[in-house]
Assembly symmetry: C2
Homo-oligomer: 209 residues x 2
């Protein structure tokens, strides 16, 4: 078997194989970079059909990250998948509140998930940030509610919650969000790996090439 061992060659070859899946889609270079990384991360070219971008999303995300925006995630696995060093290099940080003891207490008291409670309790910090929700539909519902109430204004909202209970519904609602640019993957599919790949694509983006 002809195994490729060199990591740079693997990445180059992988992106070369993914490229043809994108040709018939009408994408700008930034959107293309995001979708390429989603397919690279999932091994599933079929996901291209379900990705949706607010027209200003890629631009807004890249701009915010380069200005040192904080990145807030719903779960720690997603946090671990983001290139933290690059975020920090721009002056930002990656944070997740789900394991904080006071969030657990509040979640239990409010009868909601810890992921949703984390964003509710830290809403004052979310302005101009990049919010990334890869798992919990409840967290996405909560953040959209805070936006619709004019309580927070993140620079970008990435929402790819996964599963059969509320995920697809939360993402349909995200399509109608007013005022905050978003990136999403419709349907039941999603998760930490895909959400992280979107942020990493924005971090790695180097223009039209």
């Amino acid at each position: 078997m002809d195994i490729i061992w060199d990591p740079l060659e693997i990445e180059r070859k992988s992106m070369e194989i993914i490229e043809p899946y994108l040709v018939s889609h009408n994408l700008n270079p930034g959107q293309k970079a995001v979708i390429k990384r989603i397919i690279h991360t999932s091994g599933d070219p079929d996901l291209i059909h379900d990705v949706r971008f607010h027209p200003r999303a890629v631009e807004a995300g890249i701009s915010a990250l380069r200005k040192g925006a904080a990145v807030f995630t719903d779960v720690n696995m997603l946090k671990a998948g983001i290139n933290t060093k690059m975020v920090q290099g721009y002056g930002g940080e990656v944070r997740c509140f789900i394991a904080d003891p006071e969030v657990a207490v509040a979640a239990k008291a409010m009868g909601i998930t810890r992921a949703a409670a984390g964003f509710r309790m830290h809403s004052a910090e979310l302005d101009h940030s990049v919010v990334v929700i890869g798992n919990a539909p409840t967290a996405l519902f909560e953040v959209m509610d805070l936006i619709n109430k004019n309580m927070i204004a993140p620079a970008l909202l990435v929402g790819t919650p996964v599963g059969f209970v509320g995920a697809a519904e939360s993402k349909e609602l995200l399509l109608q969000l007013d005022g905050v640019p978003f990136i999403t993957l419709l349907g039941t599919r999603g998760g930490s790996s895909i959400a992280a790949s979107i942020i990493n694509a924005l971090l790695y983006y180097q223009g039209d090439k």
Copy 2:
């Protein structure tokens, strides 16, 4: 919209929705538990067709974890997705070598990925362990090579590397592995979320119910 906010109710409802996808498949209770969690994690019922189990895999994995076996992962995101507290509760630990400085040096010197180099350098620790490779085909090729050379004997090898360069090939080879039980997802799909869900299913397994 009828949003469900209670985490236990979300999990219960999710598993109830997934159940019908499994009925026509000939699975024992342990295999069923693993596949349910893969679908729960990915939102993709179609993955059921590509999961493959060595006949003794689930039993061997559960038994090893309960005896306090160490869990070794190829990347840190996968490590973050595993229920570390449960592993530690049994006396085990979850480890990943990819970010170790000496692994980076060795990988560069050997012209291989850091994921593969991590397993090569720590091969002496892999006996009776649970090895989980969610991303790097090169790491899976390396671990299979060590097994085939009789240098290591993990209790279980979970291999769900992802992508278009070597992933599918590495998993086809895993099907022919002799002596070490395995769980895999054939084809290009895979990744950290799916690999973590397999280990968590083994940790959470409570028998036939």
